[in-house]
Structure formats: structure tokens, C-alpha cells
């Protein structure tokens, strides 16, 4: 063996460890990716309003809309205090709203909490038609024709559903439509939490 070769063998051992560094770094990155894959939708942003009082947006009623107890009133923020309310922001032009409408009808049967709606940037006739088609699950419907109230609620897309606690504070916001999957696993859990808070 030449001297050069001898030197190289002596240098071999530390080089083995260094040579493993790239592999180790990659393994760490791969693990990070793996865990983030299971973490759910990265586009779901937490609402900045969670934990704050529901905005003081009084909204007019949807004309000629009636419910089981007579004409359906508009949105009155004072009514948030004292009962857990589920606020659904919807519109007739929003396709996922059509898909979640039957689920809201089911939700409305649960008498432990109120279900109210905010009709967002919509036309009254179309909104009425929507409710006639699927039924009216709402104890109250506020009409937000120009979207200003939506801004106060931090709405950036339709549909969105809020859970407001007995104290009038926003407890949870569900972005996107209600689905058979998330109604039990997510929404009902949050509602139960709000109910338990008392």
C-alpha cells in the first residue's frame, strides 16, 4: 500500500460518519412531510375572532319568510346571550350551501340550541326560493345584502358556520360546508362544549 492509500484508510472512519449526514438530514425532512400529510387542510386558517364577542350586527329579516312560529325575524345580536346559537352564513348562489341545507334541517331539530342564518350578498327572491326548496331551519334570518356584516364576522367565503356561546362569545368557526363527516366529528363536539360551558 502506498503512503497515500494508508492515509486514506486512516481518514476513512470519520468520513463514514460525515457521509451519513445527508441521509440523516433527508430522513428528518421525510418524517416532517409524513407528519404534515396527516395534519389536515393547510388552507384552513384559524379565525381571529374566536374568543371574541359576536359582532354587533343587527340585520333585517327576509321579507315574507315564515317559520313554524310565524314570520321569521331578523338577526338580533342581543338574542345571542343566554343560549347557544349556531350561525350559518349562506347564499342561494353558493353550491355547497345547497348540499349542506338538508343537514341544517336536521340540525334545527335539536332544541338545545338556536340555529340562525345570515343570507350573504344575495337576492331576496332567490333566498326565499332556496328556503322553499329545502325548508327553513332558521329561527332567525338576517339579510346581509352588501356583505358589510360578513366583514365584521370575518367571513371570507360561503358557507361558513359559527358557534356562539351563551355568553355571546364566538366559540368556533367552521369554514366550508357542513358534511355528514364533520357534523358529528367537529360541529356537534363544539356545540356540546359550548352547551357545557353554561
Amino acid at each position: 500500500m502506498t503512503i497515500q492509500d494508508q492515509n486514506q484508510t486512516q481518514n476513512a472512519r470519520p468520513r463514514v460518519w460525515i457521509a451519513l449526514v445527508p441521509l440523516a438530514a433527508f430522513a428528518a425532512i421525510a418524517l416532517l412531510f409524513f407528519f404534515r400529510l396527516g395534519a389536515g387542510d393547510p388552507s384552513k386558517l384559524p379565525s381571529a375572532l374566536i374568543g371574541k364577542a359576536a359582532p354587533d350586527t343587527a340585520l333585517p329579516a327576509l321579507a315574507t319568510l315564515t317559520g313554524p312560529n310565524g314570520p321569521t325575524p331578523g338577526l338580533d345580536p342581543a338574542a345571542f346571550k343566554g343560549a347557544v346559537t349556531v350561525v350559518n352564513v349562506w347564499a342561494s348562489w353558493c353550491i355547497p350551501c345547497h348540499e349542506e341545507a338538508p343537514l341544517f334541517m336536521k340540525l334545527a331539530q335539536d332544541k338545545r340550541f338556536r340555529v340562525v342564518g345570515v343570507n350573504y350578498k344575495d337576492q331576496p327572491e332567490k333566498a326565499l326560493g332556496f328556503l322553499k326548496r329545502y325548508g327553513n331551519p332558521f329561527a332567525a334570518v338576517g339579510v346581509d345584502a352588501n356583505g358589510r356584516a360578513g366583514i365584521e364576522w370575518g367571513v371570507y367565503g360561503v358557507p361558513e358556520t359559527f358557534v356562539v356561546g351563551r355568553d355571546g362569545v364566538i366559540a368556533y368557526k367552521l369554514v366550508g360546508p357542513l358534511t355528514p363527516d364533520n357534523i358529528d366529528s367537529v360541529l356537534m363536539k363544539e356545540i356540546d362544549k359550548a352547551l357545557a360551558k353554561g
Binding site: 460525515i18 457521509a19 433527508f26 416532517l32
Partner: protein, 659 residues
């Protein structure tokens, strides 16, 4: 029938790739030319089959065959013909098919033009290429099959995202993919070399043309993508440090380092570890980019719909390929023989510095892109890392690269004379200082922009230094100098153009960033908007109908020094089938700068929100990219890269193993 033929062709390609993954490797280990040749034939077969498959899907799109799910989801019979074709790769499934077709193309190219590569290495490279191909064919067939069918076939498609109905889309992804996927060859060569246990100068010589080819296309793809975003998204921006943009930029940075590192390895058989690792890293970054875009782990304007099952599959592919390559490296690294020696101040030394800086820049972009992911995993906090971080960390790294860049070609090999080189760069400093003065005279501030302009001028002048030096300009009669210049190897010209391109891009970036102006306002027809020495007169809005949209077009007359010089017509389009609006910006080129007008919302009070920008010298950004690509092409055509071209060794002592 045609889609099913395309489907079967894809399946056959997978079958071939499986055979090609094994047989040539066995042949390489046993030096059996027959078995090794299966690699070559297999590569051609895969490419032919992928052409059939891709062609079948393209036909389905062209005929608006809505029984194919992919066509239904992404096309519409009213779409103009060219966009029917390009919408093929505007979605996940179709773009993956394009991806593997280009992978097969490169395999076939190596089979065809790799005649100077030793047969065993070539067979191994083709086998590794087939591993990659097999994994991706499987991925497509199992999770992202573009040939799934709908029965009954719908009468009409769902239309393409309107933003993607544009010529920029026709060109940008294929160019990018050729770049991305092209680096698979250097990866395969690296893995092949590690398997064979021979990593030397000859290997570097064989691998360099492929690296250049991929790099040229990636440069063009990124430049094209940037320009497309600039005029399509309507914000006047051309680089957003978006995760997907970063995913294409990182392979480019690593690829540039690889290019230079391979040069040293070929010349001096030094920097072996750097070169091998960079070869593995560049393609790994391409793969990680693929993962980021298609797995839903990060959101971006580019990302395809998120689908965790795809993400897991790609992650598995990553683990196999990248993990495998790095494990191979760890195994072989201790036995790598030391290469040629060189002093720190030398051309090799300068290239090591280049490697270091580029790799650090790559790492910076990598960290910035993945930091939100890591932070969310650790603490659950969602943050976004954007331009401020990257500008703060990336720019300072690039300044030393730019300063050192012109020095490199002037330093001698093995031991260079820094002082001498610095002296020969004198005129570059002068030009740089001149640049600062000119900028100061024209604009005055900010200081950092002035310095950056000076740097850009310096880079351009410095890049000319080698040419001037070697042709003897200013020292011998001009005619002689011209003659000598023409006799210089193409790679010298290539280097010059590429480095000048970088300087041009820098100047373009600085001018647009520091001295671009913007006004936004709500205007009624008849209003005049002054900007950058021009006056834009808003004539009014007119409705117009397109093939599958209705538009509101604003007419803006451009006036300069009292003379009307043109009309610009930005518009807002509403698409019928997808309730979506796009804003089409209007651009007017004035010299190397551009006037840029985009429409905002049409407000209740009959005013229109209009954004007007004046971007001086913005075109230099992309012209610089073109220069870089051109320089690369010149280098690629250098005769010396083809030394060792095939001369069949039939009369040599090798026994011809009879069949």
C-alpha cells in the same frame, strides 16, 4: 378506443420499465453486452409507448371526448383548439403524464447519444432511469390515472380554470418539466457511478452535457413562468417566493452549482464529493418540489388539489430514490479517492466558493419554504414566510457570488494570482463605478439601488474580461483580435453570455424594484392618470364577448409629451361555466420598460378601480434569462464536449462475445 389504447400503452411502458430495471443491471455486473443492450432497446420502447399514450390523451382532449374523466373535468367543447391541447397538462393527472413522457424521452436520448459512455455505465444509468420511471408509472396508474372513464359520457365538460387559458401555460410547464426531469439523468449517472464504484474525470465529462441541457430548459421554464405570472395575475409582480416557485428555483440553484462543480471534476478530478452530492441533490429537489405541489402539504396559487393519498405515495417514492441514493453515497464515500490538489486561490478555489455560496442559497430557500411546515408541526402555529425573509437572506448571499463571478475565469488553475486577476479587472471596476454615477444622475436614490446597479454593470463588464483577455483586444490589431475571438472555444463564449445574462437580470430587478411606480384609484371615464412621465387617459368601458366569456374592456390612451403614442385595453372577463372572473392586464413596451395597466372592481358609483404601473427596464429580467439559456446552448455545442465520440473498438483486443 383511442383512450384505452393510450391506457394500455402506459401499462406496457410500466412492464418494460420493470424489465429494464433488472436485466441491464445484471448485464452490467456480468459485462454481458446482450443483457446490457436490453437497456437501450427498453429505453426506446418506453419512449415510443409514452408517445402513444400521451398522443392518445391529446387526441381525447382535441376531440373533446368527455367519456375520459380528465377531459370532462378540465375541458369544454367551446375552448379554442390550442387550449384544448394545453389543458391536458393544466391538471394533476395530465401533467404527470407529461412528466413521465419527458422522463422516457431523456432515457431514450441517453440511449441514442450516450455512445461515448462505457456500456456498463450506460446500462446502469438506463436501469436507474427505469427505476424512477417504474415508480412514477405506478404512481400514475394507481393514484392519478388520466385514462379513467365516465359512463355515460357527459355532454359537456366543466371548463378549465380561466387563468390557465393562456399561451404562457402552453409553454411554461413543458419547458419546466424538461428542466426538472432532465436532472434525473445526472441523478442516474451519479447513482450509476456509485454502484459501479468509479467516480472520476471521465464520468464528469460524460455527465456534463446532460446537466447543461436540463439547466438550459429549467432556466427558460422559470423565466417563462415568471413572465406568465407577471402578465396573467394582474398584480405586476414577477416573483412571489411562492412555495412552488421556490420548488423550481432550488433545483436551478443546485443545478448551477452542479454545472460548475462538474467542470472542476472533469478538469482536475477534484470536488468529487461536491459533484456527486449536488447531482443527487438537484434531482431530489425536483422530486421534493413535485411532492410539495401535489400532496397538499403546502398551499400556493400553483398547487393542484390536495390529496393526502397521493402525498403518501410520492413520499414513499422520495424515500426510496433519495434515501437509496444517499445511502449508496454513504456506503461509497469512504473509498472515494482524493482528486487533484489545488490552492485556495485558484480557479478551482473560486468554483468551490461558488459551490458553497450557491448551496447556502439553496439551503436558505429550502429552509424558508419548509419553515412554516416545521413550525406548525412543532407548535401548531400557522405562519407564512414570504418575500421579506427571502429578500433579507437571499440577496446578501448573492452579492459575493456576483462579485467573485468575473474573477473565476481569470484565475489560473491549481494556483492563481489574485492580484494579477484583480488588475486585469480594472476596467470592470471603472465600468461599475460608471454605472453608479449614471444611476445617481438619473434617479439619485436609494443608495443601495445605486450600488446594485454598479454591481450589475461590473458583472457585465467583468464577464467580457476573459474574452478581451484571450482575444488580445486593445493589445493587438482589431482584425487579429477578432480572428482570435472567433477561434475561442464555444464554452468561453457560453460562459460570457451566461454571466452577462445574470448581470442583466440583476439590473432589471433593481430598476423595477427601486424605481417602478404605481398608482391605484377609482376613476370615471374621462379621467387622466399621470405616471412615470406618461399620461393615461381613461376613455371608458365597453362590453365585449369572447368564445366562452364576456368581458368589460377599458380603453386607455397613452400620451407622452402631448403626443398620443398608443392605446391599452385591460379587461375583466367573466366566464359562464365557472363563476369566476379574471383580470387581463394590458402591457405596453417602451424600450426595455413597460407600462402595465390592470382593472380592479367596477364600483357601485360607476367608477372603475384602475391600477397603473410604470416598470423601467423590467424586460431585462427575462432578457437576462434568455442570455443565460443562450450561453448554455453555446457551451453545449462545444466540440470538446463530444471528445471521445464513438469510434467502434472492433479492432481492439476486446473479445466480441458471440451471440
Amino acid at each position: 378506443m383511442i383512450p384505452e389504447i393510450g391506457h394500455y400503452a402506459l401499462i406496457l411502458a410500466l412492464a418494460v420499465s420493470l424489465a429494464q430495471s433488472i436485466v441491464p443491471l445484471v448485464g452490467a455486473r456480468t459485462h454481458d453486452p446482450v443483457l446490457m443492450d436490453v437497456g437501450t432497446k427498453g429505453a426506446y420502447a418506453q419512449f415510443a409507448l409514452m408517445c402513444v399514450s400521451f398522443g392518445a390523451l391529446a387526441t381525447a382532449y382535441g376531440q373533446s371526448d368527455f367519456s375520459v374523466t380528465s377531459v370532462f373535468e378540465n375541458s369544454h367543447s367551446l375552448m379554442p383548439a390550442i387550449y384544448k391541447f394545453t389543458s391536458l397538462w393544466g391538471n394533476h393527472e395530465g401533467s404527470m403524464l407529461l412528466w413521465v413522457m419527458i422522463l422516457a424521452l431523456f432515457g431514450a436520448l441517453v440511449a441514442a447519444f450516450g455512445a461515448n459512455v462505457p456500456t456498463t455505465l450506460k446500462a446502469t444509468v438506463l436501469a436507474v432511469q427505469s427505476w424512477i420511471a417504474a415508480l412514477f408509472y405506478l404512481f400514475i396508474l394507481i393514484t392519478s390515472n388520466p385514462f379513467t372513464r365516465l359512463d355515460p359520457a357527459p355532454a359537456q365538460g366543466r371548463d378549465l380554470n380561466p387563468i390557465l387559458q393562456d399561451m404562457g401555460l402552453a409553454i411554461h410547464p413543458p419547458l419546466l418539466y424538461v428542466g426538472y426531469v432532465g436532472f434525473s439523468i445526472s441523478f442516474s449517472f451519479a447513482v450509476g457511478a456509485l454502484i459501479e464504484g468509479r467516480i472520476d474525470a471521465a464520468w464528469a465529462r460524460w455527465v456534463r452535457p446532460w446537466v447543461l441541457l436540463a439547466w438550459i430548459f429549467l432556466t427558460l421554464g422559470i423565466a417563462m413562468g415568471s413572465y406568465w405570472a407577471y402578465y396573467t395575475l394582474g398584480w405586476g409582480g414577477w416573483w412571489f417566493w411562492d412555495p412552488v416557485e421556490n420548488a423550481s428555483f432550488m433545483p436551478w440553484l443546485a443545478g448551477t452549482a452542479l454545472l460548475h462543480s462538474a467542470l472542476v471534476m472533469e478538469k482536475r478530478e477534484a470536488l468529487k464529493v461536491w459533484t456527486i452530492l449536488l447531482a443527487i441533490l438537484t434531482f431530489s429537489l425536483s422530486l421534493i418540489g413535485t411532492f410539495i405541489v401535489r400532496s397538499g402539504v403546502l398551499t400556493s396559487v400553483h398547487a393542484f388539489a390536495s390529496d393526502p393519498s397521493r402525498g403518501v405515495f410520492i413520499l414513499a417514492i422520495l424515500a426510496l430514490l433519495i434515501g437509496g441514493a444517499l445511502a449508496l453515497y454513504a456506503w461509497r464515500a469512504p473509498s472515494l479517492r482524493q482528486g487533484g490538489l489545488f490552492a485556495p486561490i485558484s480557479r478551482e478555489g473560486a468554483l468551490v466558493l461558488n459551490n458553497l455560496l450557491l448551496s447556502t442559497a439553496t439551503a436558505t430557500v429550502f429552509v424558508g419554504t419548509l419553515y412554516p411546515l416545521a413550525l406548525e408541526a412543532a407548535t401548531g402555529a400557522k405562519i407564512s414566510v414570504g418575500a421579506p425573509f427571502f429578500n433579507l437572506t437571499f440577496a446578501p448571499l448573492f452579492v459575493p457570488i456576483l462579485i467573485a463571478m468575473p474573477f473565476g475565469p481569470l484565475l489560473a488553475w491549481k494556483r492563481g494570482d489574485l492580484a494579477g486577476a484583480a488588475q486585469r479587472m480594472m476596467f470592470a471596476y471603472v465600468v461599475g463605478a460608471l454605472g453608479v454615477l449614471v444611476a445617481f444622475a438619473l434617479q439619485g436614490k436609494p443608495a443601495i439601488a445605486l450600488l446594485a446597479i454598479g454591481l450589475g454593470f461590473y458583472v457585465i463588464a467583468g464577464s467580457l474580461a476573459e474574452l478581451i483577455e484571450r482575444s488580445g483586444l486593445f493589445r493587438v490589431p482589431f482584425a487579429n483580435a477578432l480572428h482570435r475571438a472567433r477561434g475561442l472555444p464555444r464554452s468561453t463564449w457560453g460562459t460570457m453570455f451566461a454571466h452577462i445574462g445574470l448581470g442583466l437580470t440583476l439590473i432589471g430587478i433593481v430598476c423595477e424594484t427601486a424605481w417602478g411606480v404605481e398608482t391605484i384609484g377609482a376613476y370615471k371615464p374621462g379621467a387622466t392618470i399621470p405616471i412615470g412621465g406618461y399620461e393615461m387617459k381613461f376613455e371608458g368601458l365597453t362590453p365585449r364577448k369572447g368564445p366562452n366569456f364576456t368581458a368589460d374592456v377599458a380603453r386607455m390612451t397613452v400620451v407622452r409629451d402631448g403626443r398620443e403614442i398608443g392605446v391599452m385595453e385591460p379587461s375583466k372577463r367573466a366566464f359562464a361555466t365557472r363563476s369566476m372572473n379574471t383580470s387581463e392586464a394590458a402591457l405596453m413596451t417602451r424600450g426595455l420598460g413597460q407600462l402595465y395597466v390592470a382593472l380592479g372592481d367596477i364600483n357601485d358609483d360607476q367608477t372603475t378601480t384602475i391600477r397603473v404601473y410604470w416598470k423601467p427596464f423590467v424586460l431585462l429580467i427575462w432578457i437576462g434569462g434568455l442570455f443565460m439559456a443562450f450561453g448554455g446552448t453555446l457551451s453545449l455545442s462545444d466540440r470538446r464536449l463530444r471528445v471521445g465520440a464513438p469510434k467502434m473498438a472492433r479492432n481492439r483486443a476486446h473479445a466480441e462475445t458471440a451471440a
